[in-house]
Symmetry: C2
Subunit: 888 residues, 2 copies
């Protein structure tokens, strides 16, 4: 980017215009984002209304000097205004042809809570007459004046907007009109007087008639807005540090509402939905920017502009090319045509859909504007989801009846009739129906129903509730925690906002937004474009970390491998026990009263487990498969209603009371902190023995079939080195026994490692690592324990925490680097003290979140593991993280 | 202590005897504890059977050389044995007058899992004849031989003891006798042959007839026992590092069973129960040490010894004085009289009761043997409990029927008839009955009943279950988790080991041991001795840390102050809401549907809270009172049974269904990780406002009455700096409002701080401290979260963790310094980065545990806080910690 010679550290005001331009786009720290961009465009020779920017350093002086107008500032402003007056041949506050300006805040980072725009500044009782004269439009002039008084009163003096609204209503009643635009000039003149009275009433002062006083108050108000509690908290939460303050942009006004030769518009240099390289936007004749937003009149697409003003259209297309060549990126622009002359008011990087991002990035590489690396960095990794899942068409969604909004727990678009139990979902799906499974919350017992259903909708539970985690693992659409829905399972109906829906009714749910809509909403299926595959290829070229998947079935394993997974980072074994043919043996095992009985029941489960593992090893041949030993509390496997307990009692030949007693005995106050994970293996070593036997037998069977099985055994919930030492010993012994029994003479090389998910394991990682071949960070549980948050219960207060900005985001979605991340870093450091090349990965939900993946790169992890549908996202995010050059 | 000139680093064997003594008591590292002590006594000129010690360095060489007899060792042993032979005029393996020795292991630290003693080594088919001749006692000689074969076979060769038992039974059957001692010499000769056959059968070798071979095998077995899995794990768990190995002690045998002029005994130099300075012990004529332990014959008290052998008695009294003067400590000695000659076999520090420890320490100071500091270090702080609580007399306990054993949850001795509900306990206590409240587990709803009851007995729950924590806070006797007891609340009975006890029956429970006994067991009340008060005075002189108490009522506050508490470290506010007159308003608050309704209900609670605080401030005038804002989930305050819900519905004028729905809505999967602590204040700021208002109003009211109230407000469960920042702001605002409303013009100086109990708060302590005036470590919850253990559920696996030595102790009882402690240290360090003098204390249960208090000293905490009855313990433990000179 071109540098200017007259940059000066001591300069307080940076002018941009024909006379001279002091700044450029590199000076965001000093001029703020908006100011730097206005200078840049001016420097490029684009038609930008001239103005000047007061630097962030002046803001700092405002505070240093005790929240007073910094000394000498008004003199310097005077100099710049004079320059503007000269350039535009207008005069500030003039009663013939007045100079009018806008005042806007603008820090280096975009920041909610700071001051809004003030337009038309410079209008006074005197200059408004001048504006009317100069434009020959009295109505226009007084409309501008009343807008100034309103904005100034509201934004600078803190007068509640409704007081102005009231005054406006009175005038409309008086002139018997409905719309603001129908009030005649006379009415607007009266309105200005009413507004001035409102102003006086609430400030005890007259509306300032000195335009420089207007400017001084406005500039100070911008400075003051830097320290509003909301802005301060935003910076705190977003960890924005080291900024000096906000800049202030003062720019001469242009008007798109000066007649039919005027207009205003917004446009993208390429199509933001598809990425197609075609100028895309809309404009409105005889209107101001705010009118476009208000949506009262329908704007015209820009390709109809040639009919209205072909010269301006040509000029815009040229500017599009200039901007893209300059910024090497798709731009989002705002422009105004004042009496046939085009003015550029803004340019910034344009927002786009995931598909568009991919296409634009690839096109820009082809056009040699950017290289592969920059192309990768330009695509928001999380948006790739849109390319992989069905979605509702925007037309259909616009027409649909939105019933409520839950949490966007697992993306996708799903339509179905309602099923209120898992059994019902299974049965009706078998009969060919597409059903949505609707539950208060789901439990492992619902797993079959969840798998059958087209989509899952729950009324409680958060982003990492059972329903959400399982659904994401399968790529199944899920909306969770839709708290406004009241479910009556027995009556087979739900009520939302007073409307009732039964098992005969159809709903549509959008898992990417959390929307729940009535009836059938039309959707489109995804297609994998050539550009998508290109982006994946580039990603693999630049990333350092491997990408694995979390998968429990051969089907999921195969799907993930298609998406590019390089192994399984987390294969949960508990889901395998819920299938109909196994749950009986599992329950028998849990209810066993002697080790012998327990072993007998486990012996029944062994062949199932072995078969499951063989299937997965086959799909993942040549790639590592990390198998986590049984993790959930045994309680979860037992039936909790009297009927199921009775059935179980009959099948096992015991009394229902005995079953009920055992269920009661296994009940825990806090199952998350209870008898689960490796604690099960400590108290029931025979469970570990069965699972390890199944793994080793499956691996040996695969080797015989020339399948390259590479199991890794992961011991969950370890908190102390001695837990792992003892269980590792037992695992090794069991492995040896199987190898001896099978007379296997080949190489197995099965790694034994642990999940780091308990803070204590992270704190004592150097000791734990002595007994581990690898660490896999279970950041779901690690987040639960580090915060003391239960994923299942967090929704009772998390919304307040987010709205009060105590937390910047849900820590179950994006890794909390300051707390949880600190433990991860400690553990990696500690583990590698014991073993310099200890393999470390992440298998929590965060493994599919781009920001968390960036952290993993920095922490020096070897791989991330995520649900199959997020594998492409993780590949891209890992490449981006590597390109951002994190040190490790 | 005297040093010897001939200490040598290269010496492998250290001889002790008349000829020379190479080592002394300072050389525990090299000679082990036992070896060093034998050398020391010999050096003092006491009659110790001579012998020699093989150093720990030789053990190391055994491993360095691949678990083989270290080269040159047997030659050196030969030299020492020759010295012994010369000194005793006996010969090793001799067929006339054989030298016999014992072999014992002995490391620097006492260590379970290492090798047992072997006696009578040197006996062979040949020398046994010599022993029979020399002693003129054939039976004695063969009895010694059969013992050697048995011990050697068992300990050195790993032959199961039962095989020898079997052979012995056969002989007894053959000679038709019941007792071992009735088998005649002939039978024992036969038995030796049988034993040798057993030996051959299991080892495929003959019992070694070369005494040096016996010695070599035994010494190597001792070395090998250093690395048994159990010993290795013990060192790991106990963090015993840097030891070279075990020493081996080889000592000439003496016999107390050589006739009526022989005998053996054990004694304490002072009374170990009372501490009285009087020689105390017992002896058995014509017996070996093991016979005393076996308890077949009743020993005589030592003061009857003058009748038997006044010379030996006089000699023992002299030795008592010599030892006490030398060791400056009460000793536990073992001695043997062989044919009228006294031999000392052992001296070590004697175990004693808490009362004895206090008395002995004070007496030794008076006797100018030790100074105050050493006196303090000598008293096990935890044993002070015995001086403060009633206890069952040992005679009564010996006679009592022990039904089962639960956890010693809160010490004391309690006798009462059984009450099965809290209401019943309240009512029957009011009627003058002493009752034990028997519950499966207790909940906050039971609080009144628990307070009424003489003692509490639960069948589930651990050392930090609700019952245990509350009971300890009150000093109420409690046995928790007595799992063998089946409680039938409806039938008002319990069954234990097949016996049924109803509400009419009486049980006695010992909270210090966990014993549950049938009927009334007699007990004694405690008295505070002058020595106890002396020890407290010394403690206060030497400790650095302050000692506060955890107390929620004026009564507890007063009691704790009597025990020396210097303020309240944790005043829980939730117990205040359970009292009958308040719970209704509390429930109304929870069920409120609007902020207005909630505020109305809170307004009813305000006067109660204010009155509670005033009462506590009054009792703690001049001392700080840290008040924790509401902490438990609201769920805990609602009734859970249909009847109570109906009553509540009536009193509030709503439907029972609505109550049930709200209870259901508030239900949490993991309440420990749920909507509680400061999360309540974030979602319901009005609760915080009410509590802070009550605190400030109470403080102002006290000031008016010249009571020096010093409240500190503690915000619980903080995990992020922004939580604390926002709640601190709200607290300050509320404080200001009350001060303004009350027109109070004095000084309040109320600190606002937080509990550090969530790992994330410890990890980000530097940020959290910016908003905190103090940190108080809530190590109960911090332990739960750091381990991922629920206190309520941990008993399902903790016993296995302790028995398998995965954990050295219950981390809820004694602070886990490696994990939880690391977080505490990080937080103190982090907090003091932000504020160099940040006040830090501990208010978890660990604040009353001596080992944890030692850690607190090291971590640099300013105070510990514990339940009232543990305040004296904490005062002493804090002094000990300071004296041990931990750096901070």
């Amino acid at each position: 980017m071109a540098k200017k010679a007259n940059k000066s550290a001591s300069r307080d005001l940076f002018y941009f215009g024909k006379t001279r331009t002091d700044g450029d786009g590199t000076q965001k720290e000093l001029l703020g984002g908006k100011g730097a961009n206005l200078a840049e465009m001016t420097g490029m020779g684009l038609p930008v209304p001239p103005g000047f920017t007061i630097t962030t350093e002046v803001c700092q002086r405002y505070y240093d000097e005790g929240r007073k107008t910094p000394s000498g500032l008004m003199d310097q402003i005077h100099v710049c205004v004079k320059l503007l007056e000269k350039e535009l041949a207008k005069a500030f506050g003039d009663h013939r042809n007045p100079l009018l300006v806008s005042v806007r805040s603008g820090a280096a980072a975009s920041m909610p809570g700071m001051m809004n725009t003030i337009l038309n500044l410079g209008l006074t009782d005197q200059s408004v007459v001048g504006l009317a004269n100069a434009t020959g439009n009295e109505r226009f002039a007084y409309d501008a004046y009343r807008r100034l008084i309103n904005m100034f009163g509201d934004v600078v003096m803190g007068i509640d907007h409704e007081h102005f609204e009231e005054a406006f209503s009175q005038i409309k009643r008086k002139y018997k009109v409905q719309l603001d635009t129908d009030v005649p000039a006379k009415g607007l003149i009266e309105l200005c007087d009413s507004y001035k009275q409102v102003y006086r009433k609430f400030t005890q002062q007259a509306f300032p008639q000195d335009p420089y006083r207007q400017l001084e108050l406005s500039v100070c108000a911008v400075f003051a807005s830097w320290m509003t509690p909301r802005a301060v908290r935003y910076r705190e939460v977003e960890n924005i540090r080291g900024l000096k303050g906000t800049a202030v942009n003062i720019q001469s006004m242009v008007y798109g509402n000066m007649g039919d030769d005027s207009g205003t518009g917004v446009a993208f240099t390429r199509n933001p939905s598809t990425g197609e390289n075609k100028f895309y936007g809309e404009f409105l004749i005889n209107a101001q920017g705010e009118d476009v937003v208000a949506g009262i009149r329908t704007p015209l697409p820009v390709d109809q502009m040639p009919k209205w003003n072909p010269g301006v259209h040509r000029q815009l297309l040229e500017i599009k090319n200039t901007l893209e060549a300059h910024y090497r990126e798709m731009q989002d622009i705002e422009f105004t045509i004042e009496r046939g002359t085009l003015f550029m008011l803004q340019t910034r990087t344009g927002k786009r859909t995931g598909s568009a991002a991919v296409k634009i990035a690839c096109d820009l590489v082809r056009e040699k504007l950017i290289d592969e690396k920059l192309a990768l960095l330009r695509i928001p990794a999380g948006d790739l989801t849109q390319l992989l899942l069905p979605s509702f068409t925007s037309q259909a969604k616009n027409k649909a009846e939105l019933l409520t909004r839950g949490l966007p727990a697992s993306p996708g678009a799903s339509v179905g009739t309602l099923a209120f139990t898992a059994e019902e979902a299974v049965a009706r799906t078998r009969d060919g129906e597409a059903v949505l499974l609707v539950r208060k919350e789901t439990s492992p017992e619902d797993i079959d129903g969840m798998h059958s259903a087209a989509g899952i909708l729950t009324s409680t539970g958060g982003m990492t509730s059972h329903a959400a985690v399982v659904a994401r693992g399968w790529g199944r659409c899920c909306v969770a925690g839709a708290g406004e829905i009241m479910i009556d399972e027995k009556a087979r109906k739900l009520v939302v906002k007073g409307k009732t829906f039964t098992h005969k009714d159809t709903l549509s749910i959008d898992g990417a937004t959390g929307e729940v809509m009535a009836g059938i909403v039309a959707k489109t299926e995804p297609k994998m474009s050539a550009e998508f595959l290109q982006v994946m290829k580039w990603s693999d070229k630049y990333r350092r970390m491997k990408v694995r998947t979390n998968a429990d079935t051969p089907e999921d394993a195969a799907r993930a491998r298609d998406f590019g997974a390089e192994g399984i980072g987390l294969c949960r074994t508990e889901h395998m026990f819920f299938q109909e043919d196994r749950i009986a043996a599992m329950r028998e095992m849990i209810l066993a009263e002697t080790v012998e009985h327990r072993k007998q029941a486990l012996a029944k489960l062994l062949p199932f487990q072995r078969r499951d593992f063989e299937g997965i090893f086959k799909r993942m041949s040549g790639l590592p498969v990390t198998i986590r030993l049984l993790d959930p509390p045994l309680h979860e496997f037992l039936p909790h209603d009297a009927k199921s307990q009775k059935e179980l009692a009959q099948s096992l030949g015991v009394t229902p009371a005995k079953i009920a007693a055992r269920v009661q005995q296994l009940h825990e106050q806090n199952p998350m902190l209870g008898h689960r994970g490796c604690r099960l293996s400590v108290t029931y070593p025979e469970i570990l023995e069965m699972q390890v036997t199944a793994i080793v037998q499956a691996a040996i069977a695969c080797k015989a079939k020339k399948i390259d099985a590479r199991p890794e055994i992961m011991i969950p919930l370890v908190g102390t080195a001695s837990e792992l030492a003892q269980l590792r010993e037992l695992t090794s012994q069991t492995m040896d026994q199987v190898v001896t029994a099978k007379k296997f003479t080949g190489k197995l090389d099965i790694l034994i490692g642990t999940m780091i998910e308990v803070p204590r394991a992270a704190l004592t990682a150097a000791q734990v690592a002595e007994h581990a071949d690898f660490f896999s960070f279970g950041t779901n549980d690690l987040t639960q324990l580090t915060f003391g948050f239960s994923r299942d219960d967090v929704n009772s207060f998390l919304p307040d925490y987010l709205s009060k900005e105590i937390l910047p985001q849900d820590p179950f979605q994006s890794l909390d680097t300051a707390g949880v991340g600190q433990l991860v870093e400690m553990a990696v450091r500690g583990g590698r003290i014991a073993k310099a090349h200890l393999k470390c990965g992440i298998c929590g939900e965060h493994g599919g979140d781009p920001a968390s993946i960036q952290f993993c790169e920095k922490a020096g992890l070897d791989y991330v593991s995520c649900s199959p549908f997020r594998v492409p996202i993780a590949r891209l995010a890992a490449a981006q993280a590597a390109l951002r050059g994190a040190k490790h």
